[in-house]
Symmetry: C2
Subunit: 406 residues, 2 copies
């Protein structure tokens, strides 16, 4: 599919405005800590959530609000996850009511999210102040402020926007995301808010989102931990006036590919900006008997602490890659496994037919010293393939997480 | 059961001698790298192995040799895991043949183990030299040398020996172990060689070992990774002349409790000496609906990178404990969860009825700054309990594993 990058982030699609500001949940005044994304019309809406059994109050409230497949706004604070507090649901509902009142919409049309420390009561005073000010700041230029406001230990702003064609109409997509620590496959693993002006039914929107999240956001691993609060949501305003997508077919496929474009952009962005990361790792598994096997292996390799440490040290320890495959839980024929690693600096093969083979240590060191490394695993068991994204494990990760709250 | 600590390690039980020396697998001449444990008579033998699908050649050979429930010697080198090499099985079999020839026993009575780097061909020359010298060094005082020779990045020698009473006879037990990195629950997770002079059938020996490993060695997590090579073996010489244990009953129970004594000693020893660890973490889960749930939760908490990092920083982040429980995969009623943490410095409660409650940060910091910390989780769902052992995640872990091979 052809997409044309355009500016605007979540505000690029017709109907959307956004804003971000510092309201006071965080003490650091230079860090924006509350974001609002708003649509001038009611949107089809869908979301996927963390699979952690301990999930935040915002998840409970958003799940309920979005159950009718409709939404008009996203309100999100950073600095406090509003989770594991006795009054969490009450506070999350208050965030929706305040937002609805400020925008003149229904509280049930608000998607609410929080990210930050777990288990500390959320102070509504700065939140209420922020929600009273944000509507005045809403604009078509507010996408980046919103992206900045949802960041926690992220070091880079994560946003994308582009235009493509669906049903003969120009349709726009935008997205922001936050990632960093506590990111693990097989879950809705961070916060990402997607907007589009495509016309699509809530059911088809949900179906497209689930498929794309499974192949992208859920194939990221930073530390094997899974947050209580993370979600990916999408709102579709319909203002692009394409023939509404209400069933599978060419338009639905195009729509899904557009969401995939977002997922494929955000997954490496999030993985490469993992807490303390110095390197983005991309693991491609090909020749698997089925997609589940390919995904399990790709994620197993990316999630191994020993593998992650070895990349930090640029140490071509092929045995660790085999070892991680072995305890991933996937079934495969070890005697057919081949592994090579590559980067801008070149490519090196270290495993053939399941056994380690001689390789140039010097060349491998050069290749593994780059900041973006691809691990290619071939299985020879079938046609299925998958990709997972991760990062190295560094001193800095330990430092960040040894004293996160202070 | 009453046990009396005695010296001797694996040589304490009647019939056993041991030796350890530097043979040259490792370049560092001051580090012993090959160990031999030998019994003057044929022993009942049993072992449990890594559950990694990629397992070392020594595992293949030992599994075959021990299938008749009999063994007389253990040969083990450190420095090279003899795994993922095309000629691994051939080399492991050669180690058994050389040992058998040197001792005048059957090659099928040799337990062979290797630990170290994966994927580098094992040079038999130093091994052959070592095996030719070791029989001359065998003595009742050789237990510690054997313990030293199997160490890799371990910082402490791990051995235990004691005497107890079974069937009216004094029966002795000894054990050595190596641990450090790549240690994760639910697998035979490191190398440990146990000796006893109890008389017991191979079947009952295997049954007792499996039960004990499940509750002890398999409840350790250092980094969530699982080695390709690890095993726990036990040899029983029968020279204590107790009435042979051939069925369940009081004597079998006593025997199992003696093995449990070893497991309960080695598990915290291994966890607390995890790569780069500065703190031993003990997680007790009580009030679970069943043992499986209790084990899953205890291991889930101990294995979380975020939890491990928080202990390194002595940061009482209760939400991370709840979060780790939530993605452990276990079923439990979050609304009944209570969590407290304790050490020599005192005890602090931070979670009641599933919610975080106020606590003294100052007191918590003092408690978490100790080098041995217990996490007590109560569920209120039933009567089952379990304990898991782990360690903090430190800069040093990353350093050790960033450049393991050089």
């Amino acid at each position: 599919m052809t997409v044309t990058r355009i500016p605007g982030g979540v505000c690029a699609p017709k109907g959307f405005t956004a804003a971000g500001m510092h309201c006071g949940v965080r003490k650091n005044r230079s860090k924006k800590d509350i974001a609002l994304i708003c649509c001038e019309t009611e949107c089809s809406a869908a979301a996927v959530y963390t699979q952690n059994k301990v999930y935040g109050a915002p998840i409970t409230v958003t799940r309920s609000n979005i159950s009718d497949g409709k939404a008009r706004a996203v309100i999100c604070n950073s600095g406090n996850a509003n989770t594991s507090n006795a009054d969490g649901v009450e506070k999350a509902e208050a965030m929706c009511s305040l937002t609805a009142k400020a925008l003149g919409i229904d509280p049930k049309d608000v998607i609410v999210a929080s990210t930050g420390v777990i288990g500390q009561s959320l102070d509504l005073e700065p939140i209420a102040y922020g929600i009273s000010e944000l509507p005045k700041l809403l604009s078509k230029d507010g996408g980046e402020d919103a992206a900045l406001a949802i960041m926690t230990t992220d070091t880079k702003v994560k946003q994308i926007s582009f235009e493509t064609e669906i049903g003969g109409k120009a349709v726009r997509f935008g997205a922001i995301a936050k990632g960093s620590g506590m990111i693990h496959p097989n879950m809705a693993t961070m916060l990402s808010f997607i907007t589009t002006d495509a016309a699509i039914s809530p059911d088809m929107l949900s179906k497209a989102l689930k498929a794309v999240v499974d192949d992208t956001y859920n194939m990221i691993s930073v530390d094997g931990d899974t947050s209580t609060n993370d979600m990916v949501s999408v709102m579709a305003s319909g203002l692009a006036q394409n023939p509404p997508i209400e069933a599978e077919g060419e338009d639905f496929e195009k729509f899904t590919l557009a969401l995939l474009e977002i997922g494929n952009y955000m997954a490496p962005m999030i993985a490469g900006d993992g807490e303390g990361a110095t390197k983005l790792l991309i693991c491609n598994v090909a020749g698997a008997s089925d997609v589940k096997t390919a995904k399990t292996l790709a994620r197993g390799v990316i999630a191994s602490s020993l593998v992650k440490s070895m990349f930090f040290g640029a140490d071509a320890n092929w045995g660790r890659l085999l070892c991680a495959m072995g305890y991933s839980g996937a079934e495969f024929d070890i005697s057919k496994v081949g592994i090579s690693m590559s980067s801008r600096a070149g490519s090196v093969k270290g495993v053939e037919n399941g056994f380690c083979v001689p390789f140039s240590e010097e060349e491998a060191k050069k290749i593994l010293s780059e900041d973006k490394i691809t691990i290619d695993i071939s299985l020879g068991d079938g046609e299925a393939a998958a990709t997972a994204w991760g990062c190295d494990l560094t001193y800095e990760y330990v430092k960040i997480n040894g004293d996160y709250r202070t």
